[in-house]
């Protein structure tokens, strides 16, 4: 980066915070349009049933109810949408907003009541009479693979939607040469993203254009799907986000309710609003993670892993997500499985099944089964071979010089796992921890130490994601008429602080104070296209690169105009603190406002027309890409009488290259760890064996609160790859690896009792079962 860095690398206060913390942000529910109508959905109480009839007459009789739509309206008047990411052989039925003929999960929307207030809409919804014929349900992976169970989508003819086998390296040779073969099954339960702001939006159709005020991580994709679904020109649809109260991957996909709300506004030519309540959110927004991995490792006595075989089944629930199908990351698991380790070969058999549950959506590190099962397997190997888990990892780390290639062919550029593990062991005084563990055990206490490493494709080497699609991202930089700098990004920030970080980057590149830069986002009318807006930890590298390039090119343009005015050569001009001056002649000064005025108002005849537009759109392709990586280490103590798990310490050593804003990096890390603690100890989107949903309130779905999160110590390594853009993403790594570190610590604590953790969810009762204190279920 040119010039002296002033803002990048500092924990500049977040630009967003004044607005958000003073309650003056603008979220989906803050959009209030005159004459607006409100929606309540009628949802299926059954997991799987045929819809025999729907009687909407009583609802329509309610004073204030304007319309009631059912599946047949959408079948007749809209087009189904399909995923855009994921392999072509992944079978699905195009998705309509409401259920037609059949319901496929509890919470499946069957009717939509539109009224002059939400109260009336809900009263109307109570009166919609749906007659169902209940069908046997498919509640889990085993039931889905059982041919005796009914098929959820008749047109597909099977509950298995996708199957792939992927082989890299020499797997058979590895298994032939092994001293020991270690097998274990690791399953992840369903959890939900649970952002503070749920889903919702307000759609308005006026003057031939449909505008949807949404809460979306991918506004451009949402726009395309709305247009496709309603048969409108893309140009006639605009999606606008302002503030987003969290998403964690949930809001990448276009939701069926989004399509319903837009259709209703289009059909009625009146603003239509729907904001989901928490109950609805937990029931029907979708969930994540549910998958089962059977792993087999060919290992030498010294812990060297020669090869791995995996059998993965992902439970996508009933309806496929679009653009990102729930099982679509099976390919990512195949590519990422070796992580930072030099493993000789990997064979993955992966299947995606449908069940009568809500849609599987992305959740912060959607491919996490890869890291969890691998890092668990490393600990299992250590236990089976009586080695220290640190030594097993050391034995297998690939060299850290950027030369190493994973068997999948990806380079390990930027990964510093070996370094972060050593640093974590050193920082936590691992030897002393082990000694105090031995002492505690002698006193009858139950303490454990666990750690795990990860690499995070943020952005990853070229073509890591999405089967080799181009991953470039664009940004627009504009010098406004008053001399201020505007940046337009296709990110859709929802907690990441991009208004701050991108302003820091642009300010340094341009030579202005951060306060002179305003970052605009979320409006498809003025931001560049992107398939995924904010997701995949892309922003730090991709959005930053785009901002860097557009700012740099704009600066060159500005200096050309300035050069005309100052009768100097652009090469001799600098911008310092927002003022243009010739090198070494600080007394000659020109403000950016002067340049803008000259350019836009054209008062200077010297300036030709091509220089009138001080706006540049530029894209960045990620360069060589590279990994963010790190190690988490925690110590736990378990109360063997109650099964309660307490953290003695939690340490993160992370490396995301140079940090743009350390406070934001730490916020991302802490949030990820908190969600990891939640995932292992508290959160479960539970369905019973008949696919009835059991966790539709916060009394049942337990989110950790501040009291449950241990103090988190963070150490940063800032290995800067030799790249133009040396920042790496940090959005997903915290949650990616935390469950592995935590479950490894719990298993370590319970090792004297022969415990083996196969299911990630460990409420107190499960801990006591593992310890043999109470009988296994």
């Amino acid at each position: 980066m040119e010039g002296t860095t002033r803002s990048v690398g500092t924990s500049a206060l977040r630009v967003e915070d004044t607005r958000i913390l003073s309650g003056t942000g603008r979220y989906a529910d803050d959009v209030k349009l005159f004459g607006g109508l409100h929606v309540a959905f009628v949802r299926s109480p059954m997991p799987h049933a045929r819809i025999l009839s729907i009687d909407t007459s009583a609802a329509l009789d309610v004073d204030g109810v304007v319309a009631v739509y059912t599946g047949s309206d959408f079948a007749e008047r809209t087009h189904g949408i399909s995923p855009k990411l994921g392999p072509p052989s992944y079978r699905h039925e195009p998705i309509l907003a409401l259920a037609v003929d059949k319901v496929r999960h509890v919470g499946d929307p069957v009717a939509m009541v539109i009224a002059t207030s939400r109260y009336i809409a809900e009263d109307g919804a109570e009166l919609v009479d749906v007659d169902y014929e209940q069908l046997k349900a498919v509640a889990n992976i085993d039931q889905a693979l059982d041919p005796a169970r009914p098929v959820i989508f008749e047109s597909i003819g099977s509950n298995q939607l996708f199957e792939m086998t992927h082989t890299a390296g020499d797997v058979d040779a590895g298994f032939a040469a092994a001293d020991v073969i270690v097998r274990e099954t690791f399953s992840q339960h369903r959890v939900a993203q649970v952002p503070m702001e749920g889903r919702g939006g307000t759609a308005e159709f006026a003057a031939g254009n449909l505008t949807y005020h949404a809460t979306s991580q991918s506004p451009h994709t949402l726009r395309a799907y709305v247009a496709e679904s309603l048969g409108l020109d893309l140009e006639a649809v605009r999606v606008v986000n302002t503030d987003i109260g969290g998403a964690f991957g949930l809001k990448i996909n276009t939701h069926r309710e989004d399509l319903a709300v837009c259709a209703a506004a289009y059909w009625l030519s009146r603003p239509v609003k729907w904001i989901e309540d928490r109950n609805e959110h937990l029931l029907s927004s979708g969930q994540a993670r549910e998958a089962r991995m059977e792993l087999e490792a060919a290992v030498r006595q010294d812990g060297t892993i020669l090869a791995l075989r995996g059998d993965l089944v992902i439970d996508q629930g009933a309806y496929v997500g679009a653009p990102s199908p729930g099982g679509g990351h099976a390919g990512l698991v195949a590519n990422l499985m070796p992580g930072p380790y030099a493993i000789g070969g990997f064979e993955l058999h992966a299947r995606v099944i449908a069940s009568n549950k809500c849609t599987f959506n992305a959740y912060r590190a959607p491919w996490a089964i890869e890291t969890w099962s691998r890092e668990r397997m490393l600990d299992v190997i250590a236990r089976e071979l009586d080695l220290d888990p640190a030594d097993v990892r050391r034995r297998n780390f690939a060299p850290n010089d950027g030369s190493a290639e994973m068997f999948s062919g990806l380079t390990l550029l930027g990964n510093s796992c070996a370094e972060s593990l050593e640093r974590a062991l050193e920082e936590s005084d691992y030897k002393a921890l082990r000694e105090s563990q031995a002492a505690a055990r002698a006193e009858g206490r139950c303490v454990g130490i666990g750690f795990a490493t990860y690499i995070e494709a943020a952005p990853g080497p070229k073509n890591t994601r999405a089967g080799g699609r181009p991953m470039h991202e664009a940004a627009i930089a504009r010098l406004e008429a008053d001399g201020q700098l505007s940046i337009f990004t296709s990110q859709a920030p929802h907690g990441q602080g991009h208004e701050t970080t991108l302003a820091q980057v642009a300010a340094d590149e341009f030579g202005v104070p951060m306060e002179s830069v305003r970052v605009h986002h979320g409006d498809t009318a003025n931001t560049p296209w992107a398939l995924v807006g904010t997701g995949g930890s892309r922003a730090a590298t991709m959005a930053t690169g785009a901002v860097l390039h557009s700012s740099r090119q704009l600066k060159a343009k500005v200096l050309e105009v300035a050069a005309e005015i100052l009768e100097a050569s652009p090469a001799d001009l600098r911008i310092t603190s927002g003022v243009i001056h010739p090198v070494g002649v600080p007394s000659v000064q020109l403000s950016l406002a002067d340049v803008a005025a000259q350019a836009y108002l054209g008062t200077d005849e010297e300036i030709d027309e091509s220089e009138n537009v001080l706006e540049v759109e530029a894209a960045y392709d990620g360069g060589l890409g590279g990994w963010a990586s790190g190690t988490h280490l925690c110590a736990v103590e378990i109360d063997l009488q109650t099964g309660r798990v307490d953290f003695d310490s939690y340490l993160v050593v992370e490396d995301c290259g140079r940090m743009i804003n350390p406070a934001i990096v730490e916020g991302q890390v802490r949030g990820g760890v908190a969600q990891g603690v939640g995932e292992v100890l508290y959160e479960w989107s539970a369905y019973d064996d008949e696919a009835n949903y059991l966790a539709a309130s916060f009394m049942d779905y337990l989110l950790p609160t501040a009291s449950e999160i241990p103090p988190i110590q963070i150490v940063h390594l800032e290995n800067e790859p030799n790249e133009e853009v040396f920042f790496r993403g940090v959005g997903e790594g915290g949650l990616l690896v935390a469950p592995a570190a935590i479950t490894n610590a719990i298993e370590d604590a319970l090792a004297p009792y022969g415990a083996r953790i196969r299911h990630q969810y460990l409420p107190p009762a499960a801990v006591l079962e593992l310890a043999g204190v109470i009988p296994q279920d």
């Binding site: 928490r278 099964g643 337990l702 109470i774």
Partner: protein, 270 residues
């Protein structure tokens, strides 16, 4: 999560509340702190057509001594119980349990009368008052009656309280200096107990071990026979049929009942 339509009336006295209850019958519900009733209404699990707000009734709040008892107005809030000096000296078990209800916001709205009338088996105050050998004063159209907490709870969210009755006061014997213990195992800091155990004066009450708060009779009898604490605690779950829910199965709850009873008794003895 929007309640069905309802009317709202504010009662000006206990008598007025009773008169309103008489007028509206089963369709009416008393509203105290609202922290159990309103969530049920938002989920449309309760759809009263009239809410009779008693939260502001002046005479039904506060803690006082009355002979051998401490008497607590039904509208006294959990936070006030936790901070009451009288309770702290003479019925510390009740004060302590009240201080563990939910979080500060809940303790500043929820009332003891509401908690008992709601009769959630997982709630803190019912078990604390059951162990304390407490009683309730109920006022109805025919006058007032006193019911022992032992006889008050009849089933899951069910009590002997009649639809036209009001809980006006709750009492507990004064137990200056008596050893007591209260154990509440929660998954998160501010949660309901997975199991709770309250003990004072040889009585042991369990929360969330069945449809109502209930006595651990086998443990009490063992203690009366002079059994050791560990031996008596082993019997804590005897005769109970704890529910299985998302947080715990019956087996685990029974185990917890034994563990927490041992802890509570040990504390009471210490």
């Amino acid at each position: 999560m929007i309640p069905a339509q309802f009317d709202y009336v504010r009662a000006t006295s206990a008598e007025h509340a009773l008169q309103l209850l008489g007028e509206h019958g089963d369709d009416a519900k008393l509203l105290a702190g609202g922290h159990s009733l309103l969530p049920m209404m938002k989920l449309r699990l309760a759809m009263p057509s009239v809410l009779i707000d008693i939260a502001g009734l002046p005479d039904l709040s506060g803690v006082r001594r009355d002979g051998d008892d401490v008497v607590i107005g039904a509208l006294t809030k959990h936070g006030e119980l936790a901070a009451s000096e009288i309770l702290e000296r003479e019925a510390p078990l009740v004060a302590h349990a009240a201080g563990l209800v939910g979080d500060p916001q809940i303790r500043h709205r929820g009332t003891i009368g509401g908690s008992l009338a709601h009769a959630d088996p997982a709630a803190d105050l019912p078990s604390a008052l059951l162990a304390s050998d407490g009683w309730l004063e109920l006022q109805g159209p025919e006058g007032t009656r006193r019911v022992a907490v032992d006889d008050f709870f009849t089933g899951y969210f069910e009590t002997v309280l009649q639809p036209d009755e009001l809980v006006v006061a709750i009492g507990t014997p004064r137990r200056m200096g008596a050893g007591w213990g209260y154990e509440k195992f929660t998954r998160r800091a501010n949660d309901w107990g997975i199991v709770t155990v309250a003990t004072v004066g040889g009585r042991v009450a369990l929360g969330n071990m069945g449809p109502t708060s209930l006595r651990a009779r086998a443990t009490e009898q063992a203690l009366a026979r002079g059994a050791s604490i560990p031996d008596a605690a082993e019997l804590a779950a005897e005769g109970t049929e704890p529910v299985t829910d998302l947080h715990a199965d019956g087996e685990y709850r029974s185990h917890l009942a034994r563990v927490l009873t041992r802890r509570a008794l040990t504390r009471a003895a210490g």
